[in-house]
């Protein structure tokens, strides 16, 4: 996959996220006291260019889905700002919100539970037209059948039900539905994780074809680091609700500048036995701290093999550490030496 042209990288971002936070309040205990909350997303900033794929990676619970749902406005923002095409969308309502829903769509992990079993495929894919109260010029059925063709489904199956389709085909149905209103950004939350290995590649190829043909942007959430390498232009690594590193996909995989990125990459299973046997592992000790009670200083210091005293007291800001690269580590420049051993 090619990187987006330099023109699009310098173009105004399609999506701009600034200091976005979501704190879920926990029910206060019997003794009142200070209300505690889960800092699911805590001051996250990034942007996505037209035609670009930005991936969010990180361990379970680090806030990837919450970030996606905030941007799609399926959740209310606690603080910070989401701008789409230069307009602040963080608190819009009513007709403005409905218009935003045309531009930003979501595709979820589980094609089984995200489709209504009692609706025909035609009704599922055509639902966005109804919700928006619009009829495509060529008629709803023709428009839906064109979408079905576009995602590799047989248009003759318009009247079939989801149970008659395999997992990969169901994910094609969700993708067709997401495309109906010609969105500019699709948030894909683990879109291939539930699919069989032999079917994943079909859906990944489809997503890439659609991006090429329609100029779509993707915010891609996934835990499979090989899939992320394949599909992304840039990658943001999250840890306990914050972004710890963000960079172009090649530089990030080849020369990580945050110890957490290094740990993630060196833990990812590599489907090549000789390389797997010879590579240097950087296995993390300990457990992910609770987002209710995150550590002081650098959030990663409890597991970081590079941690110094400074890390326990001073929060490292996400800062530019090289051209097009940001890292939230006090000692980012020392990471390559650690990686080399």
């Amino acid at each position: 996959m090619n990187a987006p042209s330099s023109a699009s990288q310098h173009a105004a971002p399609l999506l701009k996220v600034e200091k976005l936070s979501k704190h879920f309040p926990l029910s206060t205990g019997l003794f009142g006291g200070q209300a505690r909350s889960v800092r699911a997303v805590d001051g996250v900033s990034f942007d996505v260019a037209p035609g670009e794929t930005l991936s969010l990676v990180g361990e379970s619970g680090c806030g990837k889905s919450t970030t996606g749902r905030l941007i799609a406005r399926l959740l209310d923002v606690s603080s910070g700002r989401v701008s789409f095409q230069g307009r602040d969308m963080s608190h819009i309502q009513g007709a403005d919100l409905r218009a935003l829903r045309r531009d930003i769509q979501m595709v979820f992990q589980d094609p089984y539970s995200s489709l209504n079993p009692r609706q025909t495929v035609g009704d599922i894919i055509g639902a966005p037209f109804l919700i928006q109260g619009m009829t495509p010029a060529e008629g709803r059925q023709a428009a839906v059948q064109e979408l079905m063709r576009r995602v590799g489904l047989n248009p003759e199956h318009y009247y079939c039900y989801p149970r008659e389709f395999s997992g990969g085909q169901r994910q094609r149905i969700s993708i067709a539905r997401a495309l109906a209103l010609r969105p500019k950004l699709i948030i894909c939350d683990e879109p291939v994780s539930a699919l069989d290995v032999s079917v994943q590649a079909q859906v990944i190829n489809l997503l890439q074809d659609l991006q090429r043909d329609l100029g779509l942007s993707y915010l891609f959430i996934a835990h499979d680091l090989s899939v992320v390498r394949h599909i992304s232009h840039r990658v943001a690594v999250m840890y306990l609700g914050r972004i710890v590193e963000i960079a172009g996909v090649g530089p990030l995989y080849e020369r990580p500048l945050h110890p957490y990125t290094l740990a993630l990459l060196s833990s990812a299973p590599d489907p090549d036995p000789d390389r797997a046997a010879s590579r240097k592992r950087f296995v993390l000790k300990g457990e992910l701290p609770s987002p209710v009670n995150p550590p002081d200083g650098c959030l990663f210091h409890t597991r970081c093999p590079m941690a110094q005293d400074k890390c326990r007291s001073e929060v490292p800001a996400l800062r530019q550490v090289a051209a097009g690269r940001q890292s939230a580590c006090h000692y980012a420049d020392q990471v390559p030496a650690i990686a080399a051993g």
Partner: protein, 341 residues
């Protein structure tokens, strides 16, 4: 050979026809070695491992031979099986919660499991449990002992499960997707732990997974399953560097890589077949780009038998040596096929 499985069949009578969950599986393992069984959802991996432990209910029709050391599993009495399960083999499941009692302390559960199979005092069993918890890397063993399953993280529960499985020094450990639900960082810890314990105790391990990365990390020998049959069997280097079955080719070409970006993934068209009433012939033929180069429509009429193509390397495919070489030099470019539900 310590473990030897010959022509294992696990069939379930069902309304839609006989479900051949496992249909003629053969492999063997030496002590201290790891065999990976890799296959997609529904390919029969769990059905095969439950057969090895003699854990199938009455509905299953099981035939063939499973030898663990000098003991035979198929046809063994329930008391023989119980003894085998405690003393010679143990299993780790994907979801430890299904194997643990929710309202008993995990330490007590290990003590119970140990005392069922060894006549030792409660005090000795308790000490053994604490030792095992330390051995699997639980930091505070006393606290771990006194925890209930829901108080532990996913990774900790999997460690406890491994401690329980290993407390009786099994000679054979069957691990069914032990890390599928875990983050890559924790997965790396658990896989390393299993390797260490194997080195220490010399157990044979059967690792069941759908992840070719995990296979490359841990396996000495590999069985690739498709629709209940082993389509390719060989050493890990045979399967990754000299793959010889069209399905294995398809899998290896369709997965994205961690070390470089592929231009485009070569997807296997279609989806895995339903096992109920699977017709004659090769189960992969509808997705195989090479069936046309096999004469006489053999792929549709006859199921290929296992054939040795080198010492210890066998496949089930009708392609001849020359046919295979030609197929390999001319990789199939599957059309973006429109797949039928």
């Amino acid at each position: 050979m310590f473990v030897s499985v010959r022509d294992l069949k696990v069939h379930f009578p069902a309304e839609e026809g006989l479900v051949r969950a496992v249909d003629g599986l053969s492999f063997s393992i030496e002590r201290g070695k790891t065999l990976a069984i890799v296959g997609e959802s529904g390919s029969g991996k769990t059905a095969a491992s439950l057969a090895m432990l003699g854990l199938h209910g009455k509905a299953a029709r099981i035939s063939g031979e499973i030898a663990i050391g000098d003991a035979q599993v198929v046809g063994a009495s329930e008391s023989t099986l119980r003894r085998l399960r405690g003393n010679r083999m143990a299993m780790i499941f994907q979801d430890p919660l299904t194997a643990m009692h929710p309202y008993h302390k995990v330490g007590e559960q290990i003590v119970e499991a140990y005392r069922t199979h060894r006549s030792v005092t409660r005090k000795a069993a308790r000490q053994r449990t604490l030792d095992m918890l330390a051995r699997v890397g639980m930091a505070d063993t006393q606290r771990a002992f006194d925890s209930y399953p829901h108080q532990l993280s996913g990774g900790q529960r999997q460690r406890v499960m491994i401690a329980m499985a290993l407390c009786c020094d099994p000679e054979l450990l069957i691990a069914d997707e032990p890390t599928t639900a875990l983050d890559v960082t924790v997965q790396a810890q658990i896989l390393d732990l299993l390797k260490d314990l194997q080195r220490e105790f010399g157990s044979a391990i059967i690792m069941i997974t759908h992840d070719l990365g995990v296979v490359a990390e841990v396996a000495d020998e590999v069985v690739v399953m498709y629709a209940g049959r082993a389509v390719e069997t060989g050493t890990v280097r045979d399967v990754f560097y000299r793959p010889s079955h069209p399905y294995t080719w398809g899998l290896l070409e369709s997965i994205p890589r961690l070390d470089h970006q592929r231009d485009r993934l070569t997807a296997i068209p279609g989806s895995p077949p339903s096992l109920a009433g699977l017709a004659e012939g090769c189960a992969f033929r509808k997705r195989c780009g090479h069936a046309a180069s096999v004469p006489d429509g053999l792929c549709a009429s006859q199921a290929p038998l296992p054939t040795d193509i080198a010492a210890g390397h066998s496949i089930r495919c009708h392609l001849t040596d020359t046919g295979r070489a030609a197929a390999r030099s001319n990789p199939r470019q599957p059309s973006a096929s429109e797949v039928q539900p």
